[in-house]
């Protein structure tokens, strides 16, 4: 991806991470999924949101890893945490107990109503591809105040119908949260390497609200498995700052050195 004048060069992947990071506000409590969400959440903590509270399902509360964890339970997460609780306590007191503002998730498949599939491709009894499964996502998506989702944009990931609803977005008809008591708002934004999407306030169908610089609506449509809607006023996603890129690259360098060092 080419750079904009007066801004440093950056990749589409960096654009995605920086945009995802900016979604987190300082002071928010964030239940962090491994991979892209973890990268974005830690970038937020190291830039504009020093007091963002990061929680990982391994039981590490308010953790400040110096390098990105490879697994959800790396030693680094415990060593830099305020405290570490048992996994049952994490899911019961902290997530189900309503202490989490935002769940930050990745996924293998997503549909127009933000339903997530991380279970399998194909039929349940005879899968074409067996994926890892639900993990923490099903309850993160319903017990956190709201949900951010980040993943790479492609026809393989943005599908017309998910093969399996592992994790509720708004249900196959967009009404899956209607009338359900004690449930979070659900997905409020989806950040990819091409754009930012938000659910329509009424129908809950995903709408592209912002294109990353240099990305066209056609590119987004081509990478999406359904006829995707665009907002009437389509924003251009602000580009990463030099500082954000520096911090992100240093973080990834430190991480590569730490994980390669064994």
């Amino acid at each position: 991806m080419s750079s904009v004048d007066n801004h440093p060069d950056y990749t589409a992947s960096e654009m995605m991470t920086v945009t995802a990071a900016r979604a987190l506000e300082n002071g928010m409590t964030c239940f962090v999924g491994i991979g892209l969400p973890s990268e974005a959440a830690n970038l937020a903590r190291l830039t504009h949101a020093p007091d963002v509270v990061l929680i990982y399902e391994s039981g590490t509360l308010q953790t400040k890893p110096d390098v990105l964890p490879l697994s959800i339970g790396d030693g680094e997460l415990c060593e830099t945490a305020l405290t570490t609780v048992s996994v049952p306590e994490m899911f019961r007191y902290w997530l189900q107990g309503g202490k989490v503002d935002v769940g930050f998730l990745g996924t293998a498949q997503i549909d127009r109503y933000c339903n997530l599939n991380t279970t399998l491709i194909g039929d349940y009894t005879a899968p074409k591809v067996r994926l890892p499964g639900g993990g923490g996502a099903p309850e993160i998506a319903t017990n956190a105040g709201e949900v951010f989702i980040t993943l790479k944009h492609s026809k393989r990931t943005f599908v017309d119908e998910v093969d399996f609803v592992t994790t509720l977005g708004f249900g196959r008809d967009g009404k899956g949260r209607d009338g359900v008591p004690n449930i979070g708002k659900g997905p409020t934004r989806v950040i990819t390497d091409l754009c930012v999407m938000k659910p329509d306030p009424e129908t809950k169908e995903l709408v592209v609200v912002s294109l990353h610089p240099g990305v066209t609506a056609e590119q987004v449509q081509e990478a999406t498995g359904w006829e995707i809607r665009f907002a009437e006023t389509l924003e251009s996603t602000p580009v990463p700052s030099a500082r954000e890129l520096d911090v992100l690259r240093e973080l990834k360098d430190r991480t590569a050195r730490a994980h390669g060092g064994q």
């Binding site: 490879l70 697994s71 030693g75 415990c78 993990g135 923490g136 309850e139 592992t166």
Partner: protein
């Protein structure tokens, strides 16, 4: 009261063919040495319970020990698939296995309920998920006070649980420190339990509210130095992230997998 046994003897005594076995450790303190001992002893038809099957169950499944796997996230953390789990589920190699899958929240609650002597765990869970459609062990109940619909799952109550910990004292009291996962729950929920430890010490040297499992709640303690590698033991050695990445290539192919098991498990002795 915990008996200090060799790992060979502990597995031989408590892990029977057909048993329901929970080997826990959430990324941290995964009992690999015990898993390898089970493979060496050729145990069969096990129902394996674990939130995150990880490499340890990939190895047990590939080695033909498992009849059924109960889990909530079956990947190689940060790397990708568990190829032996996938090969068994997708292609039936070395034989078909049954899977029963939950979410982490439900499994964590099910371990907790097992430790608490309850037959079920109740949670605000599975709302809108299709997992209840494919797992008949997920039911829903109504709160008699509020009318709220809540998920219910059977508690986990294994025949034997196996966990790894940092250290035990001579009376068999065990200290677990760092990411404690569901280890204590696994031990307390089980009919029998084996704890492998890095070392046995005179004094646990700990603090008033440490996660200590008393010796009288454990059946066997076995010393297994570096017993959780390639996982890690907080305060002893780090996670071998490199091996987790290597495993992807080893496990992708049936022959390289079998060769690896032969070289590193079957012909590697153990500490009997």
């Amino acid at each position: 009261m915990a008996e200090i046994l060799s790992l060979h003897d502990a597995v031989a005594r408590y892990v029977e063919d057909g048993a329901t076995v929970a080997m826990e450790g959430f990324t941290h303190l995964i009992p690999f040495a015990a898993g390898h001992e089970i493979i060496r002893q050729g145990k069969r038809d096990l129902t394996l319970i674990r939130m995150t099957p990880d490499l340890v169950y990939d190895q047990l499944i590939g080695a033909g020990c498992a009849r059924k796997v109960i889990f909530s996230w079956g990947g190689n953390p940060g790397v990708g698939s568990l190829h032996r789990l996938r090969d068994a589920v997708e292609k039936g190699w070395p034989h078909k296995i049954e899977i029963l899958e939950h979410s982490h929240a439900a499994m964590a609650c099910a371990f907790e309920a097992g430790a608490a002597g309850l037959p079920l765990a109740v949670l605000r869970g599975y709302v809108g998920s299709e997992l209840p459609r494919v797992n008949d062990q997920i039911k829903f109940i109504e709160c008699p006070f509020t009318g709220e619909r809540l998920a219910a799952v059977p508690s986990v109550r294994p025949d034997v649980s196996i966990v790894h910990a940092q250290k035990a004292d001579r009376a068999g009291n065990v200290l677990v420190e760092g990411i404690v996962g569901v280890q204590k729950e696994a031990v307390l929920a089980a009919r029998h339990s084996i704890v492998t430890v890095e070392e046995i010490v005179d004094d646990l040297e700990t603090h008033p509210n440490a996660c200590v499992i008393p010796g009288w709640a454990i059946d066997a303690i076995s010393v297994a130095e570096k017993g959780s590698l390639p996982s890690y033991a907080h305060g002893y050695y780090p996670r071998d992230n490199h091996f987790y990445k290597e495993w992807d290539a080893i496990a992708r192919d049936r022959d390289t997998f079998t060769q690896w098991i032969d070289d590193n498990v079957m012909n590697a002795g153990g500490n009997a």
